[in-house]
């Protein structure tokens, strides 16, 4: 007397297969969608003041270092003090009404003596000690990690900023190198021969690949 039909013999097999596939899917979902490439890239939070890098760095062509003044001497690129904004905007007015509204916010912060609570966009894990000055001294351009900031209305993350991504470049830095005086140039292409020769100066830099290079 058989209570269960014969086909049910395959049930464990089907179940196991299903579990394996489901497991695979779960792993894939986590591995792919939960990777920094998906979690980090594209993060562009709303800022307290709608500041446009596309306008300032792109259209007006202001050099990155005008505001991020200490990027070549400090580990931190530094968000500029409100004072830097006011250096121009004490007199410079916005052409549009929307722009004027943003400038009012800026001047209010300045007058209240309050820090502008900018929202952090690019963030490495706290166990990593990234040094801007070291990278600029080696000839890594801003654009390599931050993307075309000069085209961003709202700044967002363009690269995964994960350890694997760091190491890609540390293991093979050549494609990211440029002459040291062109590091803030967003359009730079390795074309000119003389410049290419400078890039070939690879033997003088030694990007660390060991733990204490970044973790202290």
């Amino acid at each position: 007397m058989q209570i269960f039909p014969r086909e049910l013999n395959y049930l464990p097999l089907i179940g196991a297969l299903g579990a394996a596939i489901a497991g695979g899917v779960v792993v894939f979902v986590f591995w792919y969608f939960f990777s920094p490439k998906n979690l980090q890239v594209g993060y562009s939070p709303e800022q307290p003041i709608n500041y446009s890098h596309a306008l300032h760095a792109g259209d007006l062509g202001i050099d990155c270092r005008y505001c991020h003044a200490n990027v070549e001497t400090s580990q931190e690129a530094m968000i500029p003090p409100t004072q830097t904004c006011m250096g121009c905007h004490a007199v410079v007015e916005a052409p549009t009404e929307a722009g004027a509204a943003e400038l009012t916010k800026l001047r209010d912060y300045w007058e209240r003596g309050e820090a502008i609570p900018w929202v952090r966009v690019h963030k490495l894990t706290e166990t990593a000690y990234f040094d801007h000055s070291a990278h600029l001294a080696a000839g890594v351009g801003c654009v390599s990690c931050h993307g075309r900031v000069d085209q961003m209305e709202v700044v967002g993350v363009r690269e995964p900023l994960a350890m694997g991504w760091c190491l890609e470049c540390h293991r093979d830095p050549e494609p990211s190198l440029r002459p040291r005086d062109r590091v803030t140039d967003m359009d730079w292409e390795p074309g000119d021969e003389a410049e290419a020769a400078l890039v070939a100066d690879i033997s003088t830099i030694s990007p660390p690949e060991h733990c204490s290079g970044c973790h202290r």
């Binding site: 939960f34 931190e76 820090a115 929202v119 952090r120 100066d201 060991h210 202290r216």
Partner: protein
């Protein structure tokens, strides 16, 4: 637990050299009952005794609290882990929390975010000034070093107290608001109310010129403070102005006053002295100018060539001071007998026809030599006589003025005056209270004056009887004045008493008003050091809790218009020190340098010696009988951690293992093994010390080799009950036994056991090497015979490397050398490391389980057969950065790995906490975060949490360049890798090679004797890039322009992806030719390092070479210089 066989090589060193002495860590180690060792034998220390989870548990076994720790069962664990997993999943799904960056509105000058600034300032130490250089990260002081410009720092060292002062600044128990006493309790009040109350009170004294008005301050060498005092006394001429410090150099000044007719500061040249006789002087640790003394002492015994002249240190003292533990010969003698010893020595010296002691000779003629070894009279006298003008006798602050005066007479008679002993005028020559200082005796008729500060306090006690108002500015007299004064009682009967202090301490509780005092890093001030150098104290941060300095409160009381610290100091500067139109410039220069150039006093020419006064003073010192088991002598000593107790709530100092006893979180009544046996005391017994007049103290006994027999050594500064959360109830207050008469030692004390015992915790057994010879010492004779004797003492074996040797050619190759001859064991490196590397304090209970987190273990060994009279050897041990590191091989997740620069890297974020590495480390230098230690002391119940919720003030003290390690992570010495990285980056960024000595580990930077040398074994390589300023320059030009000692340039051919360097050639200059510009050749500039010379020095040895770990740190064996005639 496995049974361990005796380590076979433990016996070999003696066999090899024939004269090595036994070396031991503790009495247990020497073969006594080994309870503690049994407990700690398991290095994991997990199976330690069940202790109360309250890490600050009191030590008395009868009142130990039941465990309050939460125990996680299996179900609880599963539940918790499920929740954690779910939470992790959720947190992973959503985006990270929004985080704000708050830039400055208006950027302060010179502040570059991410780049620390350094400011010179100065702090008070035993009435002397100590120059500091403080690191500030965006306005937060995070690290205190010595200011190399300042004369008190021995070229840039800092002592444990200045370094740990950060923890005083960020102390969570600091007083934050003024308070008014109402019905015995302190109620918060506002500053305005306090100001009004003080103003009204002072106004009531206007009419009577300040009669009944008293001020009490600690000794202070600040010119601005003295000016404010003068203004105050001008306004209130009848007021009393008094000084009191528990540990001061008052006896030294008084001694000089007897001998020379006026107080003088005494400076000793330990560098130029061949023979040093210390009469109970701890000149390397708890006395003024200790850092410079240590530095000069170490310079006087270089031991780099066998025939280097080496000084010899004789010490006479009751219990091991730091100086005594560095002695070549040490005589244990009760404090009361030390004067007698000196007299006998003087008597012996006076027998020489060419030693003229004048009247003094007769004063010492009838002294008896009972109980003093013959050799200590004859041989020491012979040494002093043979080294005239090159010897020095130095008396300690614990000895009475007469002893100091006699020492002056001896130094003069031996020709040391003006050669090795130099005098300068004292800063406050006009005395404490105007006109109250007794005039110096001019003839034989006047009796020698009473000790300086004692006079003041007994006078003060008398004055307090009729006082109506009292201002106590910055001291805690209720705790630290002699018991017979009954200070608290007298204070209670004063109508209006105001206490300015950092804490609401014992004195605050007894006063009617309390004001919070600003920390020395928060306030403006100025100080003159003992040699007169003027230094400005500049604040590193605005007062965290709105406190004010003693100077500001005094200025306010004096009726100053603008009693702000800056105004007062600035006006002193421009009116006294730098008058004229260039004053502002001089001010800025002095602020920057930390000293005012040209303010150092010139040494005084030798003054005539008042031998009559000295003779009188010496005659007046009655000889006290030797202590007996029935009438012991208690010797009060300044604690090597607490000093005088004012820093009792400093968690770093509380946990720091004491230099000698290695006790943490406690002091104890220290007795010698012989006395303990005689009295039937065992370690940790609580005893009752009773003196005449009903004074009773209960304290735990710690048996410590090296204490004089029938003497109890009592470190001061403990047993506070209103210090704060860390300091309360730790250790024992010996204050009740201390009286005006018996300020430094008390005779006739009886000891009885109470039957109780106390949980004393000490680290001396931790990290035991099980008999392996690692701290190697020998005598100068041995060194001259066999210069490389340490290598013979260590067991040399030829172990083939386990892995392929790494090629460090052309790369950084970091290393360290520690000279044990220079190491004095002062603990400064331990605190420096703690501050630099964000090392938490873990509490007494955790230390008892062997879980202290110090990256440097400062081992203290006893050397010699006699357990009552051992010699001492110190050895600081951090990670040895092994080439073939045993820890790396066993890490399952590669969290500890070798760097191409030879460092043994530790990646915290990768560590999963298996602790395999710690188990496999032969040097026992790895530390594991068993609990969430950074907030453990604040909240022990949160110890197992992964939630980090560290108090804000504690967070402010962190070095932002070092990870704050969480629970479950292994850590260890990293050679201060953050400093190495910064130096390398700066070198590339600024296009300049690293100069030797500019990259320094924190321990090296603060070492007073420069025992620790850090550097690069290849020399510091710098690869020259295109467009570098170095191109086209020669070796000499580079050396000159960049301040490098020695430069070498190597040219090599660039072959991409080659494993070895090709065509390496040494060249004289960098040629910017086509081959270089096209990237075909590469130049590397090496600037020389001192380290390779030290690592190949005859005296060098590596620890446990037989294990084949190839450590990167090497040691230089300790050389002693005993007198062969005294052995």
């Amino acid at each position: 637990m496995t049974r361990r066989n005796d380590y076979p090589v433990a016996q070999t060193p003696a066999a090899q050299t024939g004269n090595a002495k036994p070396i031991w860590r503790s009495l247990d180690d020497k073969g006594r009952a080994s309870e503690e060792r049994a407990r700690l034998a398991d290095a994991g220390a997990e199976h330690g005794p069940v202790l109360s989870a309250d890490s600050l548990t009191r030590g008395r076994s009868s009142d130990s609290a039941p465990s309050t720790g939460t125990h996680l069962g299996r179900r609880g664990f599963l539940a918790a882990s499920t929740v954690t997993a779910a939470a992790g999943l959720l947190e992973g799904c959503i985006r990270r929390p929004e985080e704000h960056i708050l830039p400055y509105g208006e950027a302060p000058e010179h502040v570059v975010p991410g780049v620390p600034l350094h400011f010179a300032t100065v702090t008070e130490r035993l009435g002397d000034a100590m120059g500091l250089l403080v690191t500030s990260h965006e306005g937060r002081p995070t690290k205190v070093e010595g200011n190399p410009n300042h004369p008190s720092t021995g070229q840039g060292a800092a002592d444990v107290w200045s370094q740990a002062s950060l923890m005083d600044l960020y102390d969570p128990d600091r007083s934050t608001k003024p308070a008014r006493s109402e019905g015995g309790t302190l109620l918060d009040a506002e500053w305005t109310a306090a100001e009004e109350a003080l103003q009204a009170r002072l106004a009531s004294h206007q009419g009577n010129g300040g009669a009944g008005l008293l001020v009490l301050t600690p000794p202070n060498s600040s010119p601005s403070f003295r000016r404010a005092r003068a203004r105050f006394l001008a306004k209130f001429p009848e007021a009393g102005f008094h000084t009191w410090g528990s540990v001061t150099d008052a006896n030294m000044r008084e001694g000089a006053k007897i001998a020379f007719g006026r107080p003088l500061n005494i400076h000793h040249d330990f560098r130029g002295s061949r023979v040093i006789l210390s009469i109970d002087s701890d000149f390397m640790m708890t006395e003024p100018n200790a850092l410079t003394n240590s530095w000069r002492f170490a310079l006087g015994r270089p031991a780099f060539r066998p025939n280097d002249p080496m000084n010899r240190l004789y010490v006479v003292e009751p219990g091991h001071s730091l100086t005594g533990s560095n002695a070549d010969h040490r005589l244990r003698l009760p404090s009361s007998q030390i004067a007698r010893y000196l007299k006998i020595l003087a008597k012996r010296l006076a027998t020489e026809s060419d030693v003229d002691l004048a009247d003094v000779a007769s004063a010492v003629s009838d002294v008896s030599a009972d109980g003093i070894p013959e050799a200590w009279i004859e041989k020491v006298a012979a040494e002093l006589l043979a080294n005239r003008r090159r010897a020095v006798i130095v008396a300690g602050l614990r000895q009475p003025p007469a002893v100091h005066a006699l020492v002056h007479a001896l130094n003069r008679a031996l020709g040391n005056d003006g050669a090795t002993v130099i005098f300068t005028g004292v800063a406050d020559d006009d005395g404490g209270s105007a006109g109250a200082v007794p005039q110096a005796p001019s003839g034989g008729e006047t009796a020698p004056p009473e000790p300086y500060y004692n006079t003041q306090v007994s006078e003060l006690a008398a004055a307090m009887g009729g006082a109506r108002t009292m201002l106590i500015l910055g001291s805690n007299p209720v705790y630290d004045t002699p018991a017979d004064l009954g200070f608290a009682e007298k204070l209670g009967s004063i109508e209006f008493s105001l206490h300015l202090g950092s804490h609401r301490d014992e004195t605050a509780a007894a006063s009617t008003w309390h004001l919070p005092m600003a920390h020395e890093l928060e306030s403006w001030g100025d100080l003159r050091s003992r040699d007169g150098t003027y230094a400005i104290q500049q604040p590193l941060i605005a007062p965290l809790h709105g406190g004010r300095s003693a100077l500001e409160v005094l200025g306010f009381a004096a009726g100053d218009e603008d009693p702000k610290g800056h105004t007062l100091v600035r006006s002193t500067f421009s009116e006294v020190f730098a008058r004229g139109p260039r004053s502002s410039e001089a001010w800025r220069t002095a602020l920057h340098a930390g000293v005012l150039a040209g303010s150092t006093r010139r040494p005084e020419p030798p003054r005539p010696l008042d031998t009559v006064a000295i003779a009188l003073a010496v005659r007046a010192t009655a000889d006290v009988p030797m202590p007996t088991p029935d009438a012991l002598e208690v010797a009060f000593v300044p604690c090597s951690k607490m000093l005088d107790g004012s820093r009792a709530n400093n968690v770093w100092l509380q946990e720091l293992p004491d230099n000698m006893s290695k006790l943490v979180w406690d002091n104890a009544a220290l007795v010698s093994p012989a006395t303990a046996t005689q009295l039937g005391l065992s370690d940790r017994d609580v005893v009752r010390l009773e003196a005449d007049g009903g004074a009773v103290v209960e304290a735990a006994v710690h048996i410590l080799p090296g204490v004089a027999d029938n003497v109890v050594v009592a470190p001061l500064g403990w047993g506070r009950h209103a210090a704060g959360r860390y300091g309360n109830g730790q250790g024992f207050d010996f204050g009740p036994l201390r009286t005006t008469e018996a300020l430094w030692h008390r005779s006739g004390v009886r000891v009885t056991r109470t039957g109780d015992d106390w949980f004393l915790v000490r680290t001396q057994e931790h990290g035991s090497m099980h008999g392996r010879p690692i701290a190697i010492d020998g005598t100068l004779e041995e060194y001259q015979e066999t210069p490389d004797f340490p290598q013979y003492r260590a067991v040399e074996m030829d172990i083939p490397p386990l892995w392929d040797r790494v090629d460090y050619d052309g790369k950084y190759k970091w290393g360290m050398s520690i000279d044990l001859t220079a190491c004095t064991g002062c603990n400064a490196c331990v605190i420096a490391c703690q501050a630099e590397n964000n090392i938490p304090s873990v509490g007494k209970g955790m230390v008892a389980r062997g879980r202290e987190m110090y990256w440097i273990r400062l081992d203290r060994y006893f050397v010699g057969e006699d357990e009552n009279e051992p010699q001492v050897a110190f050895q600081p041990i951090g990670c040895q950065q092994c080439e073939e590191a045993p820890c790396e091989n066993v890490c399952p997740v590669n969290a500890t790995a070798h760097s191409p620069e030879g460092l043994n890297d530790m990646a915290y974020n990768r560590c999963i906490g298996t602790r395999y590495c710690a188990n496999n480390c032969p040097y026992k230098v790895r530390r594991f975060n068993y609990l969430n230690y950074h907030e453990y002391l604040e909240d022990p119940t949160n110890a197992r949490s992964m939630d980090v919720n560290i108090p804000a003030t504690r967070q402010m003290s962190y070095n932002p360049n070092v990870t704050v390690r969480m629970r479950g992570v292994m850590e260890k010495c990293s050679y201060c890798v953050q400093r190495l990285q910064e130096a390398k980056i700066a070198s590339r960024r600024d296009d300049r090679p690293i100069a030797d000595g500019t990259v320094r580990a924190a321990c090296q930077e603060t070492c007073p004797t420069k025992a620790i040398v850090f550097g690069c074994l290849n020399g510091y390589p710098y690869v020259v890039r295109k467009g570098s300023a170095l191109v086209g320059k020669t070796v000499q030009e580079i050396a000159r322009e960049y301040g490098l000692r020695e430069v070498r340039i190597e040219r090599e051919t660039v072959v991409p992806d080659s494993e070895h360097r090709v065509g390496v050639q040494e060249v004289d200059s960098i040629e910017g030719n086509d081959a270089f510009l096209n990237g075909q050749v590469k130049y590397t500039v090496y600037s020389a390092s001192l380290l390779p010379q030290l690592q190949s020095h005859d005296r060098h040895y590596k620890l446990l070479v037989e294990l084949g770990a190839y450590p990167r740190t090497t040691f230089l064996g300790r050389i002693r210089n005993p007198n062969s005639e005294m052995v």
